[in-house]
């Protein structure tokens, strides 16, 4: 039995989500091979070869793989998949875009957002915005899964695996990359941060969202997140959104500032180790999941918090 992990990378380096996926793959038992498909992706392949537990890296290089378009990637994965018992990718936007396409071409079900592996064919995943946990068994010959990265530790360093070059396939031509607009941030990546400071509608404006939360995040070395209400109101960019439809985070410390705590938001953060909620509404549902609840006006409490941390 061998397992294929689809690496997520930017050609130059490996994305952290790949490391969590390798850990999930290791729980299945068996040889772990990593596919790095890209353009001038030698450095990413080198990085993948150094991950503990990986026995082989397959490097598919072609100009049309410079951006991870599902239409061009899926045929390569499908071709390879027939030699594997499991195909895994992180449940990132890229993994979610690609893997169902692969599964359908293989005529197998896909299992999304796996949070635990019970055996080679039995997996645990959340449904209904994380309010229910389902255990499912697959009878398909090839199991195709996306892995919730926050549910598995990152794999460490290991010995160097071999790197094999494989064919990059052909450009299907039906889709092409036009442009990308990435949010620039010097803070830790939201999905991997140890501390997350998140703001909601109560911040009341984009200026205040940044003015109140940034000093706190900088003090704690934290990533900044947001509720859907804050994103919809334009206080924060879309990719800050934590929740059922945004990012799923599970940091050591999650500080919810002015967030009421709708079901959809809780789905994205309730596995955090310690949750702090600052809200002036004593009845806010966020207090039901908070380890430490502070009923206070955030505009006075957050500056006080920064001052206290500076002591």
């Amino acid at each position: 039995m061998s397992i294929l992990v689809i690496a997520e990378h930017d050609n130059a380096s490996l994305k952290a989500a790949t490391l969590n996926t390798v850990t999930a793959a290791a729980k299945l038992g068996g040889d772990i091979h990593v596919l790095v498909a890209g353009h001038n992706a030698g450095a990413a392949a080198q990085a993948a070869a150094k991950v503990a537990g990986v026995s082989k890296v397959l490097l598919a290089e072609a100009a049309h793989l410079a951006h991870p378009l599902a239409e061009n990637l899926a045929p390569i994965v499908v071709e390879l998949a027939r030699g594997y018992s499991h195909v895994l990718a992180p449940a990132t936007t890229q993994g979610k875009n690609l893997l169902p396409r692969v599964a359908a071409l293989l005529d197998v079900a896909q299992i999304s957002d796996v949070i635990a592996i019970e055996s080679a064919d039995t997996f645990v995943r959340p449904i209904y915005a994380g309010n229910v946990i389902a255990t499912v068994q697959s009878s398909d010959a090839i199991k195709v899964l996306t892995v919730r990265t926050t549910a598995f530790d990152a794999a460490g360093d290991g010995a160097a695996a071999t790197i094999d070059n494989i064919a990059g396939g052909s450009d299907t031509g039906v889709s092409r990359f036009v442009s990308a607009e990435l949010t620039k941030s010097s803070r830790p990546e939201l999905g991997a941060a140890k501390i997350v400071v998140s703001g909601g509608r109560a911040l009341a404006s984009s200026e205040q969202f940044h003015a109140v939360l940034e000093p706190l995040a900088d003090k704690l070395g934290a990533a900044i997140g947001a509720s859907r209400a804050a994103v919809d109101a334009g206080y924060a960019p879309n990719d800050y959104q934590v929740g059922q439809t945004g990012k799923i985070v599970a940091p050591q410390l999650y500080i919810a500032v002015g967030i009421s705590g709708a079901i959809q938001h809780l789905a994205g953060m309730k596995d955090s180790k310690v949750i702090v909620a600052i809200n002036k509404d004593e009845e806010a549902p966020i207090f039901q999941v908070a380890d430490y609840a502070l009923v206070a006006d955030l505009f006075t409490a957050v500056p006080e918090l920064i001052a206290e941390l500076n002591k």
């Binding site: 875009n97 036009v178 879309n238 079901i263 959809q264 430490y292």
Partner: protein
């Protein structure tokens, strides 16, 4: 241009579901059901394309038990022209839905198929991608902006870290993200008018698809309950607790 939109009847997003006592499934008897929120966005986008003169006909399709008719009537009231109900009592998983939708699309020959990015019950986020694979069409998933230009479709996608724009040849498949649009409220006269719009029924057998599930649900359970938290009286107390008790800062 003809647009096909797939809509799903799900437990209303405000309902906190419960697990059945025997742990076999989620208890959705007597629970409020609604159109999946992402599918409302899909219908809205199709209607806007029609209002902009880019689309000529909008066909909505839903799969499942008899009550899915209500979901289809809602879509018709929003502005869809006609509906197709693939009626079945079978448990439908994304692969089966994708195969059934492919059979419908093969008959209807739409230029654009719009689905929600995920259903809020199974949270799978698979059907659109699977349909694109089965039909060998390009996919614009997690769309926050859709533009038709020169016979192609420019789709701005919400990705980790920001936005990405891709250009797709038509026919194409788009799955909607939350920020694509704000769905309209259905007005009473439109609800009345929707009752007169055509709604065709077909069965999976008519479409030549076996909808048998591939995944067996062994059990469902409530997630572990967090232990009750404590209320702190001041910021100083909060910081002290985080440092000495939780040891997270």
């Amino acid at each position: 241009m003809k647009i096909l939109v797939a809509v799903k009847r799900v437990v209303d997003y405000n309902v906190k579901v419960r697990v059945k006592a025997d742990g076999s499934d989620v208890d959705i008897a007597n629970v409020k059901m609604s159109m999946n929120p992402f599918d409302e966005i899909a219908v809205e986008e199709a209607v806007r394309l029609k209002e902009a003169g880019k689309a000529t006909e909008i066909v909505v399709v839903s799969l499942g038990i008899k009550q899915c008719e209500e979901t289809l009537r809602t879509a018709l009231a929003m502005g869809a022209d006609r509906a197709i109900h693939v009626e079945t009592d079978a448990v439908l998983q994304p692969l089966a839905v994708a195969k059934l939708l492919r059979a419908v699309a093969d008959k209807e020959q739409p230029q654009l198929i719009i689905l929600g990015k995920q259903a809020i019950d199974d949270d799978a986020n698979q059907t659109g991608q699977m349909l694109a694979a089965l039909m060998n069409l390009p996919q614009g998933t997690f769309a926050s902006k859709v533009e038709l230009a020169d016979g192609r479709l420019n789709v701005t996608r919400e990705i980790d870290g920001g936005l990405e724009t891709v250009s797709l040849s038509l026919p194409a498949i788009v799955t909607t993200d939350l920020r694509l649009n704000e769905p309209r409220y259905v007005k009473l006269p439109n609800i009345m008018a929707a009752k007169k719009k055509p709604l065709d029924k077909v069965s999976p057998a008519d479409l030549g698809v076996d909808p048998a599930p591939r995944l067996k649900q062994l059990k469902v359970s409530e997630p572990p309950v967090r232990k009750a938290g404590i209320k702190v009286g001041s910021v100083a107390e909060l910081v002290a607790k985080l440092k000495n008790e939780a040891k997270v800062i």
